[in-house]
Every structure is written in structure tokens, then in C-alpha cells.
Subunit: 310 residues, 4 copies
Amino acid sequence: MTNTKKSIGFVGLGNMGGGMARNLAQAGYSVRVFDLMPEAVQALVDSPAGANITAASSAAEAASSVDVFISMLPAGRHVDGLYLGQGDSPGVLDAMAPNTLIIDSSTIDAATAQKVAAAAEQKNLLMLDAPVSGGTAGADGGTLTFIVGGADAALAQARECLEVMGSNIFHAGPSGSGQIAKVCNNMLLAVHMAGTAEALALGVKNGLDAGVLSDIMKQSSGGNWSLNVYNPYPGVMEGSPASREYAGGFLVDLMTKDLGLAIACAEQSASSIPLGSLAKQLYSMHRDANDAGRLDFSSVQMLFDPSVKS
Amino acid sequence: MTNTKKSIGFVGLGNMGGGMARNLAQAGYSVRVFDLMPEAVQALVDSPAGANITAASSAAEAASSVDVFISMLPAGRHVDGLYLGQGDSPGVLDAMAPNTLIIDSSTIDAATAQKVAAAAEQKNLLMLDAPVSGGTAGADGGTLTFIVGGADAALAQARECLEVMGSNIFHAGPSGSGQIAKVCNNMLLAVHMAGTAEALALGVKNGLDAGVLSDIMKQSSGGNWSLNVYNPYPGVMEGSPASREYAGGFLVDLMTKDLGLAIACAEQSASSIPLGSLAKQLYSMHRDANDAGRLDFSSVQMLFDPSVKS
Amino acid sequence: MTNTKKSIGFVGLGNMGGGMARNLAQAGYSVRVFDLMPEAVQALVDSPAGANITAASSAAEAASSVDVFISMLPAGRHVDGLYLGQGDSPGVLDAMAPNTLIIDSSTIDAATAQKVAAAAEQKNLLMLDAPVSGGTAGADGGTLTFIVGGADAALAQARECLEVMGSNIFHAGPSGSGQIAKVCNNMLLAVHMAGTAEALALGVKNGLDAGVLSDIMKQSSGGNWSLNVYNPYPGVMEGSPASREYAGGFLVDLMTKDLGLAIACAEQSASSIPLGSLAKQLYSMHRDANDAGRLDFSSVQMLFDPSVKS
Amino acid sequence: MTNTKKSIGFVGLGNMGGGMARNLAQAGYSVRVFDLMPEAVQALVDSPAGANITAASSAAEAASSVDVFISMLPAGRHVDGLYLGQGDSPGVLDAMAPNTLIIDSSTIDAATAQKVAAAAEQKNLLMLDAPVSGGTAGADGGTLTFIVGGADAALAQARECLEVMGSNIFHAGPSGSGQIAKVCNNMLLAVHMAGTAEALALGVKNGLDAGVLSDIMKQSSGGNWSLNVYNPYPGVMEGSPASREYAGGFLVDLMTKDLGLAIACAEQSASSIPLGSLAKQLYSMHRDANDAGRLDFSSVQMLFDPSVKS
């Protein structure tokens, strides 16, 4: 039987990228992978899905002669360097075959996303920015949410692959829109999580039960995602990070990074984001006061109710 | 046929109280009403439900010889004055028959609620603080939400009446808890509404469509009540105040008042509410910059996107 | 030799009031004193200035048959109770001789100050609100600053006494203005102190020396009272609270109280004070995170630079 | 007579740089100048100091064979491009003679300042970052304040030139420190200016006279540079921007830019700057609500007191 599935190049095999590449291989795609950490490559090759995985010796090799090229990197400067080159090493755009479809799933600033997409377009390559939410659990389970920026035609081609890695796919608009929409969403998340933590602490300090108050607000106009699925008060919601000492989940350091992207996005568009800016500072003060960078972001509860401990 | 329903005294027949008293009368209760504005009393007597309504000549008369006494007043000082007296005029607690059940549905500071409830208890009278949400539409339609503080036994007695006036009844805890829970909820509402407005303006300024971005965030971790049922961006949600130039709805002046109660509640409990405090200031600046006191509170969108007009 | 100096009644002999009354007695005034704590009265009687001090058995006795009556109490409700009465005990306004001059040096809300002054005026008594700054050192040394609200004529009569207790006397305007001006000043102080602490921490985290940076900003447009006389960074200014582990000085609890008065003042005048509100929250979070209520208010430095310890 | 003064290259002849270069020429230095706008070059050549000014045909020409090279550019990317090259055009570091002393007086991010200084050091060239304050009046009159980062030896060499252009020279520390200290200072300035405006509006709304309140706070613990020399309330201080409808002075757009640098500086050092962040947002909202980008930065008064107009 011949494999009629598309061939995929994948660069960036960290906590997120590793699971995404594995899911593609398990779904029958042949995946050529590269990472600066050889162990990350080897782990994939040795995995049960290893039969469909080939180790590339460079990013350029992973990018050449594939139908789809996917990247999952930490920050804008890495994405810029990978696609456009850095110092003496050329960018992977130069190594790609015509018609290669590009998907960058990194969470980066919109300006870099737009710059790289424009460079790809110059070479007649379609590119999508497709940042994800859902964390490592979503990456492992193939249940990520993709928020996509780019042309309709590119998304149509990408959909099959994206559906292997995720369960929700949103099209936000043209190039860069995926990054912008994610940044807007995560800023709003930071605001309502910290706002929820404030409201719960205010209730508890005035004698209310955090669970009872949560129930009331959840069914009233205070309702929001934090209350529904991620209650920040210890003991209210079984299985939430708050009920396991804020271990795991979405780290304060990552939320702080995303709020930095929101502020950069506001800066370049002359937007006012007073609550988003204050949320950034609250997370920063919480990180410093409670050594909380590696705790789940709902641990901001500690800032408002010092009796809550990690 | 004899009317076996309880007799009710009702003081405070404004936009909210008028509808509530009418609904009780329509449900067959005999209601003795009083208001400082004779027109408000007359309007009820002349209404279709007028057969069950009697005009009292004073608050004390409305409070004497009834099974249940309900008040709906603007602020804590009015509630204090009504129940405990002011200057030479005695409070209605002195006029009540033993076993009268008291329900104060005003939205006031918890400290006053607790003080009046304690005075009632001294006289062996059961009292509930039961502030509402749902606005004049809820008061007219009998679909208010009651957030109740007080003893279980008192709520059990009150439930029948409350269900005539409302469709949701939450028990927050002992005396004062209704006020505290409402204040927590409305502070969180102010925060996620203003946060939603910020996020939408940020997206729009960066080229996204407000409706598309709203859809994405609603289904993602940014989801909240403002996005679900009260989208603040004009044109996104048919029938929302934003789509009728922010007319009607929940006024900026009322949200500012509720945020003042939240701050007072935080002050007396030594709580930190940085986002709630900033939301208060944003509403205050919005009111002044855009003459917005009488607009719906979702008009805070104007503060972040000056192209949005009322 | 006859004492031709005015007779003075003085109520409220705490850390501040005790020193003020003593200075008046030492200057030759005969002072009739009262406090709810008998020890505070006795300490004054036993002091070197005791010859000019008489213990009164009640506030009313201290207020009757004196030329000037001075009060120094913790909060508005105490001032209200003292002058206007509370429960069954009448206010001291009823006990005063005609033409008694009243000086309230408590730091309280302007609304209470105006209410009490209006009641005094009804009885043809002149009253000044005259809150102070300068702390216990200023009270002991007679170097307080008085910020005075009330009529010119009243201030002219009071000046001789005030100059015994203080070295600066400002006339802010009519009744209540002393409280308002003090609240404005202290709000601005809180903002520039916390702002100075932020700026110093930002510089230090980026490798600058706190002393060098302080010198530069002091001589530049960043200059302010905190930098000039009360540097919040440890080791920069000899003798400042920061250089003795934030002991003594103006307590975080008192600054938090004053910011509460500023917020109440803004509330009743529909003013927007976003920085003042945030400063209040920063002091509140600092108090909770660092158990800092009894530290000097410049210890807010700890919130921005966790390496700084009390 | 031979000119024994140093020869100077100067790039960037805008509102600030033009005056600085002219002052150097008038003091007898021979100055080789370049700007992308030929008119700016011609204006200098045609000025009374023109005898000592030579037009260079490129930045590289202005940089070669001079003793001192000075740049005054709008933002970090321009400085990066000028010194290190951009695209195909090499940086001026390559064009410089050994021992050329470099002074960059642009206000830019510290990271770029440090990167360029490190590149200069690689070529054995001494470089100072020396941002200024004092505005165009200071540039014209030779009364600027320089805040300098770099080695002692470099500053010693530069001092003679700097004293021609300015009247205050501060040494903040090693490379980049000038930028950091300026950013700290201007953030603190933004905070106390907006805080002063808040306090004045609060007083005025409560019946105080802005001038009287200013006098009191200036002499009390609220004292700061804004009150002393730049009062933001119209009519209080003759000659201040507030008294000429906020024309001229230090523009809101420039303060917003400097606050952006402060936030970037905080971001890269993981610093918390809640008041600085809020000040940034207040300036941003003021700019949008009042179309205030080209007004003096003290016009933030309008945000707190809508009766104040530009």
C-alpha cells in the first residue's frame, strides 16, 4: 500500500511541537523532523509512530521537498531566523520547493508573522500563522485550538493536517490575524482570571464561601471561562490547578510572555489597554512576590488572598 | 373565594419596585404600598392589578399588620432611615407585627444591611437582604435574579414571593451575604466588560473584524457573559445596547455606584481589588469624557475605540 | 504674675495630641485635657508642663469655659460623636461658651468636617478644620504643618496657638478645605513615593546604582519630595526610614487610611483618580504580601524590588 | 590663526540636532554634517555659523576623519542602521578613523545602545550614549541636560563638546546607563505630572483654588518638579504650557514614546512598573479622547478635569 498522504517537514520539537509531530506521524503522514536538541529528534524516532518519522540533519533539509512545512518555536526572533536566515545561514524559505504550504504555529508578535508571510509571498509560497491554545495536553491528545491567519485557499489546504492536531480551527483573517486574535483572547483571559480571583478573595474576606460565590457568579452576569472550567480558588473545582497547588497548567511565565505580546501589539497600533497592562503588572508582581513563574496562572489568586498557598 | 395568600407591605415604587409590586398583586397577593412620590403609588392603584393594591399613607402603615414587608430603595442611608428611623420619625421596625418577614431588595453596602438585620433580630424579626439583577425588564417580567443573604428559615418563608418576582434565587450566606455576593459579581462584570471592550478595540485596530474576533474568543478561554449576551461592539449582536447606540440597559451611573459599593466593601475588609478599582476609574473617566452617565455600561467601548459613538 | 494667655480645652491625647497639648502648656497656656484613656491624661499632668494642665472628667468639661477648644481624634465618626453627640450623650457643642473657637486637627473626611462646622455655625461658634502633617516628631517638637479650612477671622484668632504647635500654617479655603487639601497632598505623596520606588527598582534591575540614579533624577524633571528628603531605597540617604529597615516614620496603615479618604473624597465629587486608586491598591497589596502595615510607607520599595527587605 | 579645536561629524539635523550642531560650530568647532533631508543640511550651511560647517554627502563621509562623531536620531532602529549598517549599506563604524570618539544623543532603548557600543568596542572605538532633556529650547540655547552612559575616559574626552551643547552633565554608569537613567527619570516625570493633575482636579472639584492648593502642596510632602516649574493647571503659573493652551513644550506623543521605552526596559529586566504602565495608558487615552498627541504633556490635566480645554 502506498502512502498517499502529504509529506510534512516539522521544526521545533519541544513540549508542544513533539506531540504535534507525533500525532501527524500516527495519522499516517511521513514527517521529516528537526530540532536543535538531538534528544528531541531521537525521542520521536524511537516513539511508536517512529516508522513514519525521519530525522533531518538541518532545518533546511526538513523544509525541502515536503508538501507542508510546520514550525513551532518559542519567539519571534527564532521564527525570523528560521525562515529569513540569520548571519551566514540562509532561511528555509530558500530551501523550499514551489507550492510548499507553510504553517507557523509559534505564538509570536504579529509584526514578525506578517513580515515572514510577506517574504514567503514574494517567493509564491502560501503561509499561515496558526498559534494554538490547549497546552501540552492538547498537543499530546490532538485537541488543540488553532487560531489561523492567512488566505482562505491556504487554510483549505492546511485543514486536513490541522484537524489531526486539533479539534477547533478558527479563521481570524489575513496574515498575522491568528497572532492578533490569540493575543486579544489571552489578554482577556488574563483580565477575567485575575478579576475572578479578586472577586473571590473579596467574597471570602467578607465571609462568603468561595464555592457558593462561584456558583452564583457563574450563573449570573459575572460568568466567564475562568469560573466555568478553571476556578482559581483552591478546593472549589476538583482537578483544577488550584486544587493541586497550582502545579502544571498554563504557567505564569507564559501568561506574562503573552501579555508582553499584547502590549507590543497595542504599542504598534496606538491602542489603549489599561486593564491588560495592569494585568501584566499584577502577574509580574505575583511572580516576584510568590516566586510563581512556574506555577499555573490561576495562582494569581495568591496575590489577593495571602492565605492561599501553592 | 377567600384570598389565602400572604399580605405584603411594599415601600419604594420606582422603576424597579413598581414592577415588582405589580407582579405580586397580579399573582393574587394583597399589597399595601407606599412611596414618597404619590404618583408612583397612584400608578399602581390605577394599574390592571389595582384590585389587589392598597395605598398606605406612610411607610409605617405599609409595614404594620402584613405577613411580608419588602423595600426597594436607592441607597444604604435610605434603608437605614426607613427601618431604624431618622431624626424624629421612628423606623418601621417599631411598627411591625411579630413574625413579619422582611425582605430588603435594595442594592446597598453590606455594613448597613448587616446593621439593620441585627436590629431586626433584636426584635425577633427575620430579615433577608435580597438585591436583584435583571434591570427594569426583569422587574416588569418577573424574571429577576435574587441574591439572598440571611437565615435558611427566612429564605424558605420568602421563596414563594420571590418566585413571583424572579426566576433565579441564590442563597449566598448569612445576613449581608446577598449584598456582598452581588457586589463581587458586578465588580467582575465591570472588569470583564471593560476587558472585552479593550480586547475588541485592540483586534479592530489591528485589522480584525469585531464579530469574527468575538466568535473566536467566545468559544475560547476568553469567553465571558459580556461576549455571550451583551457584546459591547456596535453591530456585532443584534438587539444589544451596543447596536442601538447604547440606549437603555444598565446605566454607567449604576455601574459606577455598584463599583463604589465594591470599593467600600474592600475597604472595610482590607481587601486588594486593583482591577476593580481601575474599572471604577475607567467608568468614571468614560462618564466624564463621553457624557456617558445615562448610557448603557457597555458603552465603555467608546473609551478604547473613539470611532465608536453613541 | 497673671497668666493672660487664653485657656484651652484639648480632647484626644494620643501620640499626636499628647505632644501638641504639652507644647501649649509649656508655652504658658492653661490647658484642660480629656482622653478616654486615663493614662494619657495622667502622663500629661505628671509632665514638666503639668503646672499648666488640668484633668477634665469628661469631654464636655474640657469644652466648657475655655477660649479655644482643640480635638485630635482618629476618624470622622469620633469627631462626629464628640461634637454632635452619640446615643444618649450630647455633643460638646452644647457645652461650649459663646465665642469659643474650635480647632479640629483630626485627619478625617471632608464631609464630616463640613457637617460639624455647619452645626457649630448654627450655634454661632467659629470652627476650623486643621489637619496636620509632620508626624509624632513634629507634634513633639512643635514643628507641625497645619492645613486649615475655615473663615479668615477664625484663623486669625487661632494663629497664635497654631504657631506654638507648628511651624507652617496654610489656609486652604472655607470649612472642609483643610481636609481636602491634605487629602490631595497625601494622595500625590503616595503616588510620587511609589513612582519613585518603581523608577529606582527599574534602574537597579538594569545595573544602575540607586544613589547615582537618585542624584540624577533629583536634579532633573523627576525631582520630588520623596527623592529629596525621604529616599525609599536602603542605603541611599542616611537617617531615612529606608536606611533603618523602614522602622518608624509614616506608617503604611496611615497612608492606606489617607488614600481611603482620598477615594471617598473623589467618590462624593465624581472625580477620577486612577493613579491615586492604583497607589491605594499597591499599598494594600504591599501590606498583605509583606506584612507591612506597621512599616514606614517608603517600604513600598519592597513591592518592586524583592531583594529589599525590612 | 589655526583652529585647534576638534573636528566633529554630526548626523541627524532635526529640531534637536540642528541646534546642537550649530552651537558646536559657533563655538569654533569645524563640523561636518549630514541628514537625509538636504534642506536641514542647507539651513545649517546658510546659518551665521556656516563658516565652520561643511556638508557631507553621506553619513559615512561625515564619520570619516573626525575626532568626534555625534548622532541624534529618532529611534533605536535608525541608530542600529546608522552604526551597524542596513541591507547593502555598511555602518559608519566601518568608516571611522581609529580613536574617533562616538556620542549618540538619541533617546532609544538601552538594548540597542548596548549592542552598538559593544560593536564599537570591538573596533576599539569609545562610545557614549548621551540622551538629552531640555527640548528644542535647550538645544538652541546650549542648555541641554546630558545623561551619559559609558566609560569615564570617554566622558572625560567628550566633556568639552557636551559643555558647549548643555549645562548639566550626569554620568549614570557604563554603556546603556544613560538611556536607562533617562527612561527612569521620564517615567517618574510622567507619574508625578499625571498624579499632580489628578490631585489638582480633585481639589478644584471640591471647591479649592488650583493656585492655593499648588502652593500648599509645593511646600509640603506633595512637592515635585511638575508643581515647581510646570504646573499643569491653566492660569496657575505664568508662562507654563498650561497657560498657553498647552502649546509647545514636551509633546504627549514624545512622552508616550518614552513610556514605551520604559515598558520595554521593564520587560527585558522582568521589572514591575504598575504606575508607569498606568501612566502610559492614561497618556494614550488622553491622546485619543482629546486628540492631544501634539499638545504639551501637561495637558493630561484635561483627562481629569473636562472643564480644562486646550
